[in-house]
């Protein structure tokens, strides 16, 4: 469920060079073309959509490494 919503956000805000549908949940998003600046838009959209705030210790490359990693972070924040 969270995975699907993240995929939708990634499609509309990720601006990846790779088609999101072709990515596995554990595919490396940086290898798929995610840059640090796109990360910002992605994070803002995810925080807005799930109504969560990512704490400082989650604000690192690893959180954005894959759809799985993003979903894990979101699931840890949603009450």
């Amino acid at each position: 469920m969270v995975h699907e919503q993240i995929r939708d956000i990634l499609s509309s805000h990720g601006r990846l060079a790779t088609d999101v549908a072709s990515l596995q949940n554990d595919s490396d998003l940086y290898e798929a073309g995610l840059t640090s600046l796109i990360t910002v838009n992605l994070l803002l959209a995810i925080e807005d959509h799930f109504d969560v705030e990512f704490p400082d210790d989650l604000l690192s490359r690893r959180t954005f490494q894959s759809i799985d990693a993003l979903a894990e972070a979101v699931e840890g924040l949603v009450p």
Binding site: Y30, E31, G33, S36, E53, L59, R61
Partner: protein, 395 residues
């Protein structure tokens, strides 16, 4: 192990600092004018640094190096910055490459052996990160590693490879393979005898003339084991980005401190000449020292944070966005304060500081200082910080 010579014991770091300072006074500073005038590589300095085995100062003791810490390397950069900023910059850039290998090549037999070679042969390492067509964006490459069996070839149009012609090896960024995205990069060590450098652009600049940062088309071949095992993005976050800004900030601090020392000498002379009436420049000296204090404080605080992270070895922490902003802040503030400080020192010293041929000339200091904000342009860094500011949370 005969390496590491007399300074193998970390307790000797104060002695090492004194030795490097002496080497700076007796070898580096006397050559600095010719290096600057002729825009040539500081050979005398590097022969002396190699003689003290300082090119392997950051190589861990287990491979025969001195095993100095990042902050200790920064301390040496600061000392060299007093004597010749070009020499200090080449030394810093070399140590950055060594750090990339030390922190990201330790699991590879090739790089373990290469670290031993850095010690035994005092190899000088250069860097080719920027590329024509991607601007100064280190996180993006156009060129790609092309592999056939266990061999690779690589061709890169690099607008800048500092001291490329003097280096024994160059660490080059490139896409992992011809199908990889621009951001999917690896870090490859190419050796001099398997690398061709075809000049693209010269290096007749205002300052930092001795870094010889010419542009080249680099064509290299090698064995796939020369590719560092970690992705370049991780190497950048863990080693290259923070290590660069800490060492650069340190040598700029050395440059700025030397300018303030020249200003202090000038005030002392004026006070000796007319005892009883402090010259107006005494107030200016106090003021410029405040700026120097500010520069040093920001640098040392972040250096301490980075050193603690290296000591703890928590790899996730290095790619924290807040940390990368603080590292960038060091770069931006130090590179701008160094210009401010040298300018203020010049006001204190006056015309003799403005002269090229006086003992208290600040000409080279001033010209070098202006380069700091341009090497990795401050506005590019601010652009990154301005985006990241939106998402980080402090306190």
């Amino acid at each position: 192990m005969e390496a590491a010579a007399s300074f193998s014991d970390p307790i000797d770091f104060d002695a090492l600092k004194r030795a490097v300072n002496e080497l700076g006074r007796s070898v580096v500073a006397p050559a600095s004018k010719a290096v600057d005038d002729e825009a040539r590589f500081p050979h005398e300095a590097f022969d002396a640094l190699k003689g003290e085995k300082l090119l392997s100062a950051y190589v861990p003791v287990q491979y025969g190096g001195m095993g100095l810490s990042m902050s200790q390397i920064c301390g040496l950069c600061e000392i060299l910055g007093h004597h010749c900023a070009s020499t200090a910059m080449v030394f810093a850039m070399h140590q950055i490459q060594v750090a990339c290998i030390v922190h990201n090549g330790g699991t590879s037999t090739f790089f373990q052996n290469y670290m031993r070679r850095i010690v035994d042969e005092q190899l000088l390492l250069a860097s080719a990160t920027t590329e024509l067509g991607v601007g100064g964006d280190l996180t993006s490459s156009l060129c790609a590693v092309e592999t056939e069996g266990e061999r690779f070839t690589l061709e890169k149009k690099a607008p800048v490879i500092s001291y490329g012609q003097e280096a024994d090896a160059i660490l080059v960024t490139a896409r992992r393979n011809p199908d990889a995205q621009n951001s999917d990069q690896v870090h490859v060590l190419v050796e001099k005898d398997a690398t061709e450098l075809e000049p693209l652009a010269g290096w007749d600049t205002l300052g930092f003339r001795g870094t010889c940062s010419l542009g080249f088309v680099l064509k290299a071949a090698g064995h796939v084991e020369q590719i560092l095992p970690e992705p370049f993005a991780d190497i950048l976050a863990h080693s290259m980005h923070p290590y660069s800004h800490m060492t650069w900030g340190s040598l700029w601090l050395g440059l700025a401190t030397d300018a303030v020392n020249i200003a202090r000498d000038s005030v002392r002379k004026k006070m000796l000449a007319s005892p009883g009436t402090p010259p107006p420049s005494a107030l200016r000296l106090a003021e410029v020292d405040e700026v120097l204090f500010e520069m040093r404080s920001g640098l040392y605080a972040t250096m301490e944070e980075y050193q603690e992270m290296l000591d703890r070895g928590n790899t996730d922490a290095f790619s924290n966005f807040g940390f990368s902003i603080r590292v960038n802040n060091v770069k931006i503030t130090c590179s701008e304060l160094v210009v401010d400080i040298v300018g203020k020192a010049l006001l204190i010293v006056g015309i003799s500081g403005y002269k090229n041929d006086s003992k208290s000339s600040l000409s080279r200091h001033l010209r070098d200082a202006y380069g700091a904000a341009l090497m990795v342009n401050n506005d590019r860094i601010r652009g990154y910080n301005s985006a990241m500011q939106v998402i980080v949370r402090q306190g």
